[in-house]
């Protein structure tokens, strides 16, 4: 009897070992994550990952990863990728291709394994839709069921690696038929000008899948898209299903004005909206924690170098302006505690300067302290003297009388511009503010129809080439020929040599040699720092409410917190890996 009992216990234990994981996997965790995203309502809302108003629009850069996983996510603090769908990844020894091996246990919500075919299909459709990855790769080849090679069309680069690893992979079950047509079309040698290409392009845009097949731990149907919120439900088949601590994600609809009451009433766990300084104070008064995350851009003062009535072509004038503006004050008036004065003034985000350029370059950078005496000297060098009214005038008595256009709807840029105008007028300029609708303000810059303006500089990218892009290339050489933009000449003599700054920026992050990249970035940083072709006024921060009554476990110090909000938000990693969990008030 005793032996029989022992045998019974062993069988029960064995069954427990086998059955328990399966049992655990089938049960949704309890608790709701209350987030927000400005999704669109049906009938515009759709499940097509390649169309507008699809998952990119409705789930954005944070929530899409919970439904359709990318291969990996970048940790800005450690400067390494962490695999999500990918088990391993890397460049081939000869640098001709990049290889990604998917996790063998990765599975779709319909029970199918995630395979190389899903990756092939994703990129086949992406190619038809004009994805940027194809600036770097020429082909995508399956090596086996879980390994894919991306064949480089030119030199391998870390920029290409990032583009390949952060792309969301979609399911063959949903897109297989369209992908087969795409692959056939590509194999036929057709180009994007071909009629068949355009027709397939239209077919992809108009494709409306009935459902989303998810590789992430959450999924939703059109019934889950409500007027006020949409709900993503936990699903059992993802490799992250066992790790997450939330049974569902409830995403409130709307932008800042719609989410402010929800933050204040304690119904919103985490939000990435931009709240004005006064609202931030109210949020703090409610005892809600604020997390401070990089935004990856800030407002810059732009010059139109083609304006013949202004002295913007004189370097000393631009340098004087950089000294004349108190950037701390400007930062506060841009976005309260959500902005910081630019430190290095080199066209790169201050947080990234130490990793992107060498120390000897940093030591050479002019930090342009707010010093009116130095600014006066520079203006005098440029041939300007103060008239009886204290205004700067050239030898003919002409004042620096210009207009400064800014987008009226962007409170941060408008604040930055108005403060810069006030400070420069106090310094002796004669600048008139001109508010425009944002689309018109952007068009005015592109068309060279301005004298001074404001737009963003830098970007939430870990590469110098991409951070240098705005505004010196974006509103200049990256524009078509009929749009002059800021008209800053990119070819000029520097240290006795003819240089092409455009080319230097484009190739600043090429290749796989980090040291070479630092040197290239350093050269560009020094040029921008010296010439001041734009004045990077400040860097904005994302001050995000995090209600710890609803979301628990969000770290206070961690390498992931260096990630910017617009791409690679740390909450993606924290939620998928169970770092955060429902707080005491989460239903």
């Amino acid at each position: 009897m005793k032996r029989l009992f022992m045998l019974f216990c062993v069988v029960i234990l064995a069954l427990g070992v086998v059955v328990m994981p399966t049992f655990a996997q089938d049960e949704a965790p309890s608790g709701v994550f209350y987030g927000t995203w400005p999704y669109v309502l049906p009938p515009d809302h759709n499940f097509n990952g390649f169309a507008s108003n699809g998952p990119n629009t409705n789930l954005g850069a944070i929530f899409r990863a919970y439904v359709e996983l990318p291969a990996a996510i970048y940790n800005w603090g450690t400067q390494t990728f962490e695999g999500l769908l990918a088990e391993s990844w890397g460049f081939s020894d000869d640098g001709t291709y990049y290889e990604i091996t998917l996790k063998s246990d990765a599975m779709w919500s319909n029970g199918d394994p995630v395979t190389s075919q899903d990756v092939i299909d994703t990129y086949a459709l992406g190619r038809i839709m004009g994805w940027s990855q194809f600036n770097y790769i020429s082909d995508v080849v399956a090596v086996d069921d879980h390994t894919v090679q991306f064949v480089f069309s030119g030199e391998p680069s870390f920029v290409a690696e990032r583009l390949l690893l952060k792309e969301y992979i979609v399911s063959h079950a949903t897109y297989g038929e369209l992908a087969a047509q795409a692959l056939e079309l590509i194999a036929s040698g057709a180009t994007k000008d071909a009629e068949e290409w355009t027709a397939l392009n239209a077919a992809i845009s108009e494709f409306r899948p009935d459902e989303i097949i998810a590789s992430g731990p959450y999924i939703y149907t059109m019934d889950d898209v409500g007027d006020a919120f949409m709900t993503l439900h936990w699903q059992a088949n993802s490799i992250y299903s066992d790790d997450v601590n939330f049974g569902s994600l409830q995403l409130w609809a709307g932008e800042t004005e719609a989410t402010t009451p929800l933050v204040l009433s304690g119904e919103l766990g985490h939000s990435t909206n931009v709240y004005p300084a006064a609202t931030i104070e109210s949020i703090q008064a409610e005892g809600i924690r604020l997390i401070d995350i990089a935004r990856g851009y800030g407002p810059a003062l732009l010059f139109n170098f083609a304006d013949e009535n202004a002295p913007w072509n004189i370097t000393e004038v631009r340098q004087a302006m950089a000294h004349a503006i108190n950037r701390d004050q400007n930062a506060f008036l841009t976005n309260g505690i959500g902005a910081r004065a630019t430190v290095y003034m080199a066209g790169l985000l201050d947080d990234n300067v130490p990793q992107m350029v060498n120390q000897d370059v940093i030591d050479q950078l002019n930090l342009y302290p707010n010093d009116l005496a130095v600014a006066d000297e520079l203006m005098a060098t440029a041939g300007y003297t103060r008239n009886a009214d204290g205004k700067w005038a050239d030898a003919d008595g002409n004042l620096i009388s210009v207009e400064y256009t800014f987008p009226a709807e962007f409170a941060d840029f408008a604040g930055a511009a108005q403060d810069a105008i006030a400070q420069l007028n106090d310094f002796g300029f004669d600048i008139t503010p001109r508010a425009l609708p944002w689309a018109e303000a952007a068009a005015a810059i592109r068309n060279g129809d301005f004298s001074l303006s404001v737009w963003s500089w830098a970007s939430g990218s870990p590469f110098a080439a991409t951070q240098f892009f705005g505004p010196i290339r974006r509103f200049n050489t990256a524009l078509p020929e009929d749009q002059p933009g800021i008209s800053f000449p990119m070819q000029f003599e520097w240290n006795g040599e003819e240089i092409d700054l455009d080319n230097m920026i484009i190739h600043a992050s090429d290749g796989l040699d980090v040291e070479v990249q630092r040197e290239r970035a350093g050269e560009v940083a020094l040029i921008i720092n010296t010439l001041m072709p734009f004045i990077p006024l400040n860097v904005e921060r994302s001050i995000e409410p995090l209600n710890e009554n609803l979301v628990a476990g969000f770290p206070t110090e961690d390498t992931w917190l260096a990630n910017p909000t617009g791409s690679d938000h740390p909450i993606i990693w924290y939620l998928l890996n169970g770092v955060i969990s429902p707080g005491p008030g989460a239903a």
Binding site: P43, S52, W131, S205, D227, A253, E257, P261, L264
Partner: protein, 365 residues
């Protein structure tokens, strides 16, 4: 005499001869109803054409806006253009007259086209999705504010100078001067967040998503519950106008001779108030009501956004921001039709309520 006799003879012949077809057509064309309707159709066509060109004069087109968004992410103009062109099957460089002719041609066939920023989604499906909510909320609010406003205005005029009149005049003047979005914000922040009378999250949207749609008490009750706050805001922001207009109109009517005569005839106050004063005082409000009814379909961008109410207004902001021309045109078309139709109804109603209007117009012809 001879001349008189000879001139009267043909008149009598004309009287007995039935009117010719052309005369009949002219008579129909000259009739007040037909003229009003023809003017309405012409107005609709004019507004459609005007808005078609006007929205294309706005800075940026759908493709440019998308390119701007892509370039913000670090793409060059060429890369951004390629991706934007792949997303939208819209050629902004197509001749504008060709676009106009295409649009009018489709419109005559009842086809409002497809959304530019949501290829595959018809504009009519968007209108059908959002319009009922706006009609319900703004329509209900208009009904309440008009009825209450007329009653209060009339009562105030009748008891002019009383405490009731003074208090209501002050309140009406005060709330009439507050924009609707300020009322909405105060309602949410003070009543919702500070006094905690309702939870802002629980009062959002058009209906409780957990209740299955159908003609059930629960579902219809939920629709009313979720419309309560937007309706309250609309009523509060508009009732002051109705009260004050009705009051002044009633005061003007009370001073007219026929009211004095009615009083002298010994008619009851109730009879005078309803049959003599009310009907005449309402006349100036008919046009205003018609215009308000017309604008019911436009909803309110800010109010619907604040309460996440799924109406036309909430989506109008989105489509304008993304320059979705076809959807904008669709939304403006129904707003135009609604305003014009309600004005036609108001013109006809005025003609019926006050025969002087109809006669004057016919005399002009």
């Amino acid at each position: 005499m001879t001349s008189l006799a000879s001139s009267s003879a043909p008149v009598s012949i004309t009287k007995t001869t039935p009117p010719s077809l052309w005369q009949r057509i002219r008579r129909i064309l000259n009739s007040y109803t037909v003229r009003v309707m023809a003017q309405g159709l012409l107005t609709i066509f004019g507004v459609i054409s005007f808005t078609f060109f006007l929205i294309r004069l706005m800075p940026g087109n759908p493709v440019e806006i998308k390119i701007e968004q892509f370039m913000q992410r670090g793409l060059t103009f060429e890369e951004a253009s390629n991706q934007a062109a792949a997303l939208y099957q819209f050629d902004p460089d197509a001749p504008i007259l060709q676009q106009y002719v295409d649009y009018i041609g489709k419109l005559l066939q009842g086809n409002l086209g497809e959304s530019i920023t949501s290829p595959g989604t018809t504009v009519i499906s968007q209108i059908l999705r959002y319009l009922p909510w706006t009609l319900f909320s703004v329509g209900t609010a208009l009904l309440i504010s008009f009825s209450l406003g007329v009653l209060l205005g009339m009562a105030m005029a009748y008891w002019r100078g009383s405490l009731f009149d003074n208090i209501v005049t002050i309140i009406a003047s005060f709330i009439y001067g507050i924009p609707d979005y300020v009322i909405a914000l105060l309602l949410i922040i003070v009543v919702g967040i500070q006094l905690k009378i309702f939870s802002p999250g629980e009062m959002r949207g058009g209906v409780d998503p957990t209740i299955a749609p159908g003609f059930t008490f629960e579902y219809i009750g939920s629709i009313f519950k979720f419309a309560m706050l937007p309706v309250l805001v609309y009523v509060l922001s508009s009732i002051g106008g109705w009260i004050l207009t009705m009051k002044s109109s009633t005061i003007a009517t009370l001073g007219e001779d026929h009211i004095t005569v009615a009083k002298a005839r010994g008619l009851s106050e109730r009879r005078i108030l309803t049959a003599y004063v009310g009907r005449n005082a309402l006349l100036p409000l008919v046009t205003r009501l018609a215009i308000s009814i017309g604008f019911v379909v436009g909803g309110s961008v800010i109010i619907e956004e604040l309460f996440q109410y799924p109406g036309i207004g909430r989506n109008l902001l989105r489509v304008i921001t993304s320059r979705d021309y076809t959807t904008m045109q669709g939304f403006f078309l129904i707003i135009t039709i609604s305003v014009v139709v309600s004005n036609i109804i108001s013109d006809l109603a005025l003609g019926w309520l006050d025969p002087r209007v109809r006669v004057k117009n016919e005399k002009k012809d």
